[in-house]
Amino acid sequence: MTTEHLRESATFDRAAIAAIQRAAETGVYDIRGWGAKRPLPHFDDLLFLGASMSRYPLEGYREKCGTDVVLGDRNAAFPLHLDIPVTIAGMSFGALSAQAKEALGRGASEVGTSTTTGDGGMTPEERGQSKHLVYQYLPSRYGMNLEDLLKADAIEIVLGQGAKPGGGGMLLGQKISDRVAGMRTLPPGIDQRSACRHPDWTGPDDLAIKILELREITDWEKPVYVKVGATRTYYDVKLAVAAGADVVVVDGMQGGTAATQDVFIEHVGIPTLAAIPQAVQALQELGLHRKVQLIVSGGIRTGADVAKAMALGADAVAIGTAALIALGDNHPRYAGEYEQLGSAAGFYDDFQDGRDPAGITTQDPELAARLDPVEGGRRIANYLRVLTMEAQTLARACGKAHLRHLEPEDLVALTIEAAAMARVPLAGTSWIPGGGL
């Protein structure tokens, strides 16, 4: 039956109706993976002003455009020296299979960048294959132990993530295998709840002491990152830096999750585009921009996104969802199996269910075995190289000999919203709407 002659409610559209019906039938809220799916102002709403008469471009095939970055040299004896400014974001063993974690480590190491643990501890597969491994320090402290802390190359204290600022983690029972349960000290098969607040500190004054403790435990060798979900980013960054963070990670609301309430994903936080200028302003006012490094995540897909984030003031970016896609998530080769799960290639977000045909967001041994860590690592390395080369292409066009030389002056916005959030002028004008903070 055709519906062209019928009028759909803009308020109660088919998606809203389906959500009400689902809630009424099941009595539970919708939990899913991925990040915000709603349309948001994003990097696509920005354009670079390539060089012409008033700026000189660099020759793409002859003149070098540097990509390296040093993270955490403010206090640590051994900061991270990365060859490219694209890192792998924290994703837990538990949410991901051991094979996926190993593949991420292999790919990242091949191109000289870092990968990050998650809410579940460090696996030997991941440590063994990761040249630079960031160990997350989360409210749950699942899998947190001294031995692994000493093996880490950096420590990331997680206050929140873009998909759920203010919320704790979830891992549903079907993914709590014996190995995952053992690492988290939980009974197998239960629906795991992670706390949303750290158990032994509250507030920025306490955080300063917590950072001190972690430095003392590790003899001031390792950089300490602080990760926040993007909300009151200006204030959060100022407080994190005041507490002693060497690196601040800001995750916008497009950042992914393995399992979170849909209502949380779609209705809490601010877009990545809006968060970056707030973070940069905070760092600049402290006189610490480029001294305390800023890593931005949440919706990075292309080298253009990388370059734009850096032009707005980030020192590096982190990818999560995009890395999973590079590994094979939502690949058309699994189209039939996605349909059997009630989804489709390109739409699959039921990471919480643990039945991922691509063997990435699962603990099922048979499904996980589908992912070859070596081949997965090659795909990740390929993708990271493409992101880097794309970003270099844009930077050279703007006359920049290093990605970190990109600046807001290189950008214009296509929409008023993006101009206001990114604090760059609307294209063809000198107008930057809004007054900042």
């Binding site: 099941t26 009595g27 539970v28 939990i31 749950s140 402290r141 947190m144 132990n145 001294l146 031995e147 802390l149 000493l150 549903l172 029972g173 988290r184 000290t185 939980l186 009974p187 239960i190 629906d191 709840r193 706390a195 158990p199 032994d200 500190w201 306490d206 002491i209 917590k210 001190l212 403790e213 003392e216 435990i217 590790t218 003899d219 001031w220």
Partner: protein, 237 residues
């Protein structure tokens, strides 16, 4: 509390003495991490933070006075005695070893601890044993509210009273309280004491140096009704 710095040194003759009036905490921890120190006496701690953290060798440390936050944090094999009181997060995330506090402890004592024994001879404030993951904690006095929140594994023994919402959202930790419990948290219930529990408790009391009769204690643990997300549980949160 009266300073206890005049108490005789209980450690072996090879004791290293570090005076925090003249040495930074950083030097103390660095020395303790080398593995070359068998015993260390810390003088004039003055409530400084992060004392004797990240111990990874079987070193014995005596802190002569009060310590600040995270004393003996992430201890893995050390024996630490604080001859005074401690701030927030004593022995947080302890892996193994023993930490003894002669005085009282502030919030989050033994938080997320995975092993070893924490003894607090005085009382502990709120959130004692929060998210504990295998540590044993014995408190001579009382504990504050929200203690053993989301406690996953290990044993918490309280010789005095427990504050409100004990064991909220508890998993598999064992709780023993000798005195009164102001209230139990969500999914925490009183459970019968069987011989195995009395034996477990007697062992813990003995290890901690208390001579209470296990028969005077009540046992609490998880009702396991919140282990799965279900609409019927919505009122529990």
């Amino acid at each position: 509390m009266e300073p206890l710095t005049t108490e005789p040194v209980t450690t072996q003759p090879l004791t290293t003495r570090i005076d925090l009036d003249t040495s930074p905490v950083r030097d103390l921890n660095a020395k303790l991490h080398t593995g070359s120190v068998e015993a260390c006496e810390v003088l004039n701690p003055q409530g400084k933070h992060a004392l004797a953290v990240g111990l990874r060798h079987p070193v014995t440390v005596d802190v002569r006075g009060h310590a600040g936050y995270y004393c003996a944090g992430m201890n893995d094999g050390g024996t630490v005695t604080v001859h005074g009181s401690v701030g927030v997060g004593v022995a947080e995330n302890m892996m193994s070893g023993t930490v003894r506090v002669k005085g009282d402890a502030s919030q989050s004592a033994g938080a997320t601890g995975r092993g070893g024994l924490l003894v607090i001879e005085g009382s502990a404030s709120m959130r004692c044993g929060i998210s504990m993951k295998g540590i044993d904690i014995v408190v001579g006095g009382d504990i504050g509210p929200m203690s053993a929140f989301m406690a996953q594994a290990g044993r918490l023994v309280v010789c005095g009273d427990a504050g409100e919402a004990l064991g909220d959202s508890i998993y598999e930790a064992h709780l023993y309280v000798r005195g009164s419990v102001a209230s139990l948290g969500a999914d925490c219930v009183e459970k019968p004491m069987h011989d195995e529990h009395r034996a477990e408790l007697a062992e813990l009391l003995s290890a901690a140096g208390f001579d209470h009769d296990p028969a005077e204690f009540h046992r609490y643990g998880s009702a396991r009704t919140l282990y799965h997300f279900a609409a019927a549980n919505s009122a529990a949160y």
